[in-house]
Symmetry: C2
Subunit: 471 residues, 2 copies
């Protein structure tokens, strides 16, 4: 029997306290709209449990009443995974009150945190203990670590440290029926059966609710170099990446590709930012960190770039001479999205490819899109070191930017077909949510979709965890 | 209807050629006994397909006839996962003929290999292309990469490079019904649904048959230092690990703990090996590599160890001055198992713990086991950097070593209870197979076992993939 909404609300209030069950319109509003304002939903209630036991109670109540659950962290997702649907039958389970750092283990180099801790606070707690937690994203002040794990967040240090998945050693998860799985292990080696935590990471709340995690910590960087290299073309970027990997190995932490138009838009809206190697078609912003003491980093970096310039892999290089200069170079990269938004809407893609396939892909896709949308502007940047491009298309100069957005489905088809044909991914770091669900169904092989559905049915047989997302 | 064995053999011969279906006793023998000689089975047939399509045919035939399949690589596993049971109804599916290096992609830093390629050949192919493939194990000449992935192999470079799992970007898998899942992606970022490859890695052939993989490649080390540090106790080892991580960061590749008795047994059987810092109760063998050019490694290592000796974290340190000396130091570690075998059988444990928990665990377990088995000899060594110990117990001097083995169940109970109470693992890198299946059932929480069984039922509903292993 399906329970009535009022009855469910009463039971939820008994579980977490009436003050933590929001049902009125102004209270609920921030939880039912995604931050980009693309998705709007309604909800039976927003429930804010304080700890794992309360999360388990909430899930058990919802399971018994057959009420679907949308888990939500900082609500900073890009694909609407944390926004309920329009029917108003779903409960939003906000994890932001699970905000404790449970433990820091220096000898084990791990930190145990609850799902609702903002990423920046995880970083800070690590720093306070003398360590480095390398996950870093634009939204780190407001996104939560539970959301980062549930979406397998990427960011700017994946080249060296991997995605959120690679930073997690253990998880605590509330399962679809309200049972708690304590997988909070701080082990670097554990081969006792299937690695279940991997299923919940990146599942966007469709298989279970992550309530806590054991994360890896790293030594703090003691030396850093930031540089902007000018390049003739994307092939030059790939060659420079390879040269720097060979010369700097693990010290190469970030390698961001920026096209001249992307840089120009950023500098248009931020004219105080530097333009140290002007007049080239492509750039690479490179971050190099060293955590070892007595580091010879500056010399190594200078040698590596000297090799690159000598072999004409790089046309010119500016190396930041101070922390201020380093921040300014990074601001050139970090302000692209926001500058682009000021120019008007644009058709966005978050794609990845084998690094080796990127130059040819960029050429082919440029030709195909230029033929389909004459005069369209390309704003291309992203984490080339990870094969991840933010590949954006804007209206031709003078054209109506909003009207241009109607071309999105056709542009998506061209881009995603070319990506798929090269073994790439239509969602490198943003996930699927509700935004790309149809694209996923289109591009995944039937056998893979079937396996995913079998896993979903195995762990959430009633289909109550974030229905309509991912699958 | 269950097909007759003869009929199945005929169909298998049609699929892979009669020469590749072994049924006679001497041919079959090497495939039905594990290399340590602990497990002996019988088989309907040993089938040796040549490629993925043939593997799919074999699995389809077995699925239709309801014949169980035991996948096997180099047959070097430690827990009997690749040995069929005694009934003789199971087919052994040998992957050793899938032995092609399919591709090396230098710009993407990946290699695509088939499951049957021996690990040493993967390393060699990487080296030939100017790269480093860091997975390294004692059995690397004969174990296969498919087996390494299926058991999530560890080894001596996990501290820096992770387990086999961390080195895989994509897999090709034949599913229980004979369909092929092509997940051979060479992507560093891909968030399009559940990360299915993670399920097959470490599943010991119970969820699917891995036929190929895309693996990560790394820059070759250009500078290396090997050192043997003498320590007062395991707490000193943990402190030294922390000091070296801070001073050397990623350059710290291996950190092996060796107890004085383990070293003594090794030197007894290999008297030519060095004893450069004699007379201490514990040792750490440390490997430090640098892949960056213009490396300041020697200076950094000397500084780091000078700090350690000054703070009395290390009592004494010998740094290898040549490649020969480095090999000799490593031989002290690598020959422990074999030297121990010459001394007679011993009760072995492959455990892991949070690194911080190891000193107290070693004290507590020593007391508990000494009380239970007065005079028992402890031979302790392992990958301390990963929290992984090979914790072995031998008969008291003069006692009957074979008779002592009867204590194994009681010793296991003491060791595993103490490990479990500290959040550790009863199988750090060797897996479960048939050897530790009952221990797994004992120590895993029911909720976790239930999830594993649900996953197993979802991907192998007829239960034909390696039954009786792991779960």
């Amino acid at each position: 029997m399906v329970d009535s909404g009022a009855n469910v609300r009463t039971r939820l209030a008994a579980a977490v306290g009436a003050a933590n069950v929001l049902t009125e319109s102004p209270d609920v509003e921030p939880y039912v709209t995604d931050w980009r304002g693309r998705f709007h939903g309604r909800t039976l209630a927003v429930v804010r449990p304080a700890n794992t036991a309360e999360v388990a109670d909430v899930v058990r109540i919802c399971n018994e009443a057959r009420v679907p659950i949308v888990a939500q962290g900082g609500n900073t997702g890009m694909c609407g995974a944390a926004t309920p649907d329009a029917m108003g039958y779903e409960v939003v389970l906000s994890l932001t009150r699970l905000d404790r750092i449970r433990a820091v283990d220096g000898d084990n180099a791990t930190i145990t945190v609850e799902a609702g801790v903002p990423l920046a606070q995880v970083q800070q707690a690590a720093a306070d203990a003398g360590f480095h937690f390398p996950l870093s994203l634009a939204s780190e002040g407001s996104c939560t670590i539970g959301g980062n794990l549930s979406t397998n967040a990427g960011g700017t240090a994946v080249l060296r440290f991997g995605n959120a998945r690679d930073l997690a050693l253990g998880l605590e998860v509330v399962l679809a029926d309200g049972r708690v799985w304590n997988g909070l292990r701080g082990l670097r080696k554990d081969n006792t059966g299937y690695d279940l935590k991997q299923l919940f990471i990146g599942a966007e709340g469709t298989l279970g609710i992550i309530t806590a995690a054991v994360l890896k910590l790293f030594p703090k960087p003691v030396a850093s170099v930031t540089a902007l290299a000018a390049l003739a073309d994307p092939a030059g970027a790939v060659a420079l990446l390879r040269t720097l990997k060979r010369g700097l190995s693990d010290r190469l932490v970030g390698f961001e590709l920026i096209s001249a138009p992307a840089l120009a838009i950023c500098r248009k809206h931020h004219p105080d930012l530097p333009d140290p190697v002007p007049g080239h078609p492509w750039y690479a912003l490179v971050q190099i960190d060293d955590s070892g003491s007595a580091s010879a980093l500056s010399e190594q970096v200078e040698n590596a770039f000297a090799d690159a310039v000598e072999s004409a892999t790089a046309l010119d290089v500016a190396i930041a001479q101070s922390e201020e200069q380093a921040h300014a170079l990074w601001a050139l990269r970090e302000n692209i999205s926001e500058s682009q938004r000021r120019e008007g809407p644009n058709i966005k893609h978050d794609i990845s490819l084998p690094v080796s396939a990127i130059p040819e892909f960029l050429e082919t896709s440029h030709d195909a899109l230029s033929a389909a949308f004459p005069g369209a502007q390309f704003v291309i940047f992203g984490h080339l070191g990870d094969g991840n491009l933010h590949y954006n298309l804007a209206a031709p100069t003078g054209a109506d930017a909003h009207a241009f957005m109607e071309h999105a489905p056709r542009a998506n088809r061209i881009v995603h077909d070319l990506v798929a044909a090269r073994g790439g991914s239509i969602s490198a770091e943003h996930g699927i949510g509700q935004l790309k669900r149809e694209e996923l169904a289109r591009y995944k092989a039937p056998v893979e979709l079937e396996m995913m559905r079998a896993i979903k049915a195995a762990l959430d047989p009633a289909g109550l965890l974030n229905p309509g997302k991912v699958l």
